[in-house]
């Protein structure tokens, strides 16, 4: 369950940034998670609820923005959606996709007091 490791990193980043901004508490942590990143968002939420205790985000929430997968077709060269890593190009229905979007794992912003 690597989601707990990720949540620890998320809280480390959030607390460091919140302290730098002289904040007292973290109300919300906004993160971006690529749909193809190999991460379960429910598990992230579950771990966050457990891990936030005794941090500046003790009463904070985790808001996950899912970044849809996109890739370039290895056959016809068109850019298109990738619902999974081995998705076929929707334009030609022949090539698999070189993924260029959808693997993100990023803390985008915080809401702090």
């Amino acid at each position: 369950m690597h989601e707990m490791s990720l949540v620890i990193s998320i809280l480390d980043i959030a607390e460091a940034q919140a302290r730098e901004a002289n904040a007292q508490a973290i109300n919300r942590v906004n993160i971006e998670v690529g749909a193809l990143a190999g991460v379960e968002n429910e598990a992230l939420q579950f771990c966050f609820a457990a891990a936030r205790r005794d941090t500046m985000a003790a009463a904070g929430e985790l808001v996950i923005e899912v970044i849809a997968g996109r890739g370039t077709c290895r056959h016809c060269g068109q850019d298109g959606p990738a619902s999974e890593l081995m998705a076929l190009c929707v334009a030609c229905d022949e090539g698999t996709l070189e993924i260029f979007q959808g693997r993100e794992l990023r803390v985008s912003s915080l809401n702090v007091d």
Binding site: M1, H2, M4, S5, L6, V7, I8, S9, I10, L11, D12, I13, A14, Q17, A18, A21, A23, N27, I31, L36, A37, G38, V39, C47, A50, A51, R53, D54, T55, A59, E61, R74, E84, L85, M86, T96, I99, L105, R106, V107, S108, S109, L110, N111, V112, D113
Partner: protein
């Protein structure tokens, strides 16, 4: 914060041991109880309607894995500076990673010096097997952790002190999911699948096959006895990763091992290490 269970104790459950040593190099008893009393209710006693007049947005834009990736980059530089070819071996439990390593160490004893970092949740068993071959080995026990990370490899290298111009095999925790996300600073990921598993595994665990450079298909001596289509397996893996290379082998009989050794020698030459 402990990242094995999320409790508020420090994350020190990971141990680093050499075979033949009784106590971990860095011991930690992880004595905190996991049976919390559940006295807190889950009714969200905090209210979301409190006045946020003081609240403000702070822009962050930081990769969650940044700390691991930085340490991995440090490891990669450390390996490159010493001409060490580091490989990250990943697979399900039971695919034969340790058997492949045992055979490789024995067969290449005279030509390619190897050392090994063994990752498992518990026990020195794999490290003992490697130690019996005579290769330097360090066991990392991750406790409840499901993967090795770059910090563990940095610390393991401090203990193991791999010799310059050698090959360092990092046998990750048997798990086709979590290790895919954690860069250790390796030159390549080698994913191992055995023919006693399903040939559709690349479709079930695409993230790992997408991240790998080489796929070893092990236990091919058992092909007559199992329902495993090697071509279908390779085709499935190529669907997620067209650049993936394959070697079909059997660590117990030695069949196909030569191609794996050739791949190792080629990689070693490319990484600046000595060739034979």
């Amino acid at each position: 914060m402990c990242d094995t269970c999320g409790c508020s104790q420090p994350a020190e459950a990971v141990t680093f041991r050499r075979p033949g040593t009784e106590t971990p190099a860095h011991s930690h008893d992880h004595a905190h109880p996991h049976d919390h009393d559940h006295g807190h209710d889950h009714q969200h006693e905090h209210h979301h309607d409190h006045d946020h007049s003081q609240s403000r947005e702070v822009k962050v834009a930081q990769d969650i894995l940044q700390q691991n990736d930085l340490l991995a980059a440090h490891n990669r530089g450390w390996f490159a500076g010493r001409g060490i070819l580091a490989l990250n071996l990943v697979s399900s439990p039971g695919s034969g990673k340790t058997s492949v390593l045992e055979r490789t160490i024995s067969d290449l004893r005279e030509t390619v010096p190897l050392s090994v970092i063994e990752g498992d949740q518990q026990t020195l068993r794999d490290a003992d097997r490697i130690a019996a071959t005579g290769a330097p080995v360090l066991q990392v026990n991750t406790g409840k952790g499901c993967h090795l990370d770059a910090a563990m490899i940095q610390r393991a290298c401090d203990e193991l002190k791999p010799v310059p111009d050698t090959v360092l095999m990092i046998e990750n925790v048997g798990n086709l999911v979590c290790p895919a996300l954690f860069d250790l600073g390796e030159a390549a990921k080698v994913v191992i699948i055995s023919v006693t598993e399903g040939d559709d595994k690349p479709l079930k665990y695409p993230t790992m096959f997408a991240a790998a450079d080489l796929c070893l298909i092990n236990k091919i001596d058992l092909l007559p006895h199992v329902n495993f289509d090697v071509d279908a397996c390779e085709a499935a893996a190529r669907q997620v990763n067209p650049k993936l290379e394959f070697v079909r082998l059997a660590a117990t009989t030695g069949e196909g091992m030569d191609r794996w050794y050739q791949w190792l020698r080629d990689r070693r030459a490319a990484s600046g290490g000595e060739t034979d």
